[in-house]
Amino acid sequence: MLALKNWDINLRWSEKKTLLSFLLLYSFLTLLILVFVAFLYYGLQRDLMLQSKREALSNLTNEQIAKLKNLHINFAKEQIYPRDDRFNSAIYDSSFKEIFSTLNSKNVNLYEDIYLKEGKIYFIKELESYYLGARYIAIEVNEPPFWSKKVYEELGLYGAILFLILTFIGYFLLNIILQPMKNAIALLDRFIKDTTHELNTPINAILSNIEMIELDALDENLARKIKRINIGAKTISHLYEDLTYLILSHSALSFDEDVELKPLIEERIEYFSLIVESKKITLSAELHKAIFLHIDRKKMTKLFDNILSNAIKYNKINGSIHIVLQEGCLEISDSGKGIEEEKIAHMFERYTRFDKTVGGFGIGLNIVAFIAKEYHLLITIHSKINEGTKVTISW
């Protein structure tokens, strides 16, 4: 199954849920069919076994009836019920009242002809002359040894073969169901790949040219415009990096090293300073020194960038961002619009965007989730509508 090869990457939570529901339903129906077929097969084998015993049991019953006849004639002298080592027996009158019984079971179904119950075969016959008032006679014998074991072995074998066939059918059904979903995902991925490829050259050209401009030499109005272009270009650059990471980097090898987080965070704050400034956001940071994390530097940068960029993007004008780095955790709190609690669990799904008033593809937190999963980092999000969001990365 092509889609399952990249299950984590290609399928979203809701799609996984749909697939899981389908699999559960399919498994349940398969099991139901198998149980039904097994039930029929067992019944058939049981009936065949009972039919093979019928003649012998009928002969035993006739022997017992002959003994009952003798007892009936001599009842004044003899009252001992005839017993036989080969079987147990019981007699009943026409109102189904038990006259005498040597059976193990007290509940005998006199409406049946022959049946199997708890390892015993019961054979019922109606007498032509009611000796001792007996209209019905029941004979009880043990079922043939290993009979049920043999049937269960056959059931196991045929059940496994049938299950394999049904699983094979299920595989094809699942492929048919997944096809439209796979097509849609492939289309989106292809679009992002093509877009990313086309973005590379112009972004680099814009950013390198802006860096070459001497802002001090320009008048204030022009310098402000250049700054805006710089912010815009950096935003596109960030998006470009996310897309590149999504398509290529996360599957590439990591170059893990002991990264000191304070200088890395300071560098990234500096990188985002223009955007922060443009939204008049107050950014404060309490960064402890000498806190190291064994991680790929580029991936840590990506993780931090995505969380900080969200804190900026979904913040209000004149808002605030507070970053705390201490042993074991990194916290980024903002005074943004916040998010409903029930949506938090779905924030890390790819292409999920709850606020469409700002740009983006909904891939930033998906990348964060991938990196966190790779390095066993725990990400917790606390959010209150109109108050803000606090993201904590713990290790």
Partner: protein, 110 residues
């Protein structure tokens, strides 16, 4: 005189202690070639359950006829069909109950 009265009183007491079955059925059957228990087992052979046996006996005793008899043809030809019972339905029921109690096989089989 006193002694005669005492014997009569004792005899009356003994007779009244007898069941309807003992007073009205046994005396006639005692002298018959076919004993009374044989009739019971023939009924049992044909009617099986207590309810069916009693129902058939009562019906026959209230209206004896060749068609409903359980006796074989030879005995019927020799002894004929018995006379209709003089017992009331309640007395007859009581007599049949005693008869069933005396000969049923339920608690006798070992």
């Amino acid at each position: 005189m006193v002694k005669q009265l005492f014997v009569l009183f004792l005899l009356t007491g003994v007779l009244s202690a007898q069941t309807i079955y003992e007073k009205n059925c046994l005396p006639c059957h005692k002298g018959m070639a076919v004993k009374i228990d044989k009739f019971f087992y023939r009924y049992l052979l044909k009617y099986s359950s207590e309810q069916e046996v009693k129902k058939a006996m009562i019906a026959y005793l209230q209206n004896p006829n060749v068609k409903d008899t359980i006796l074989v043809d030879g005995l019927i030809n020799r002894f004929g069909v018995k006379k209709k019972t003089t017992l009331t339905p309640q007395e007859l029921q009581e007599a049949i109950d005693s008869y069933w109690q005396e000969y049923n096989v339920f608690d006798k089989l070992k």
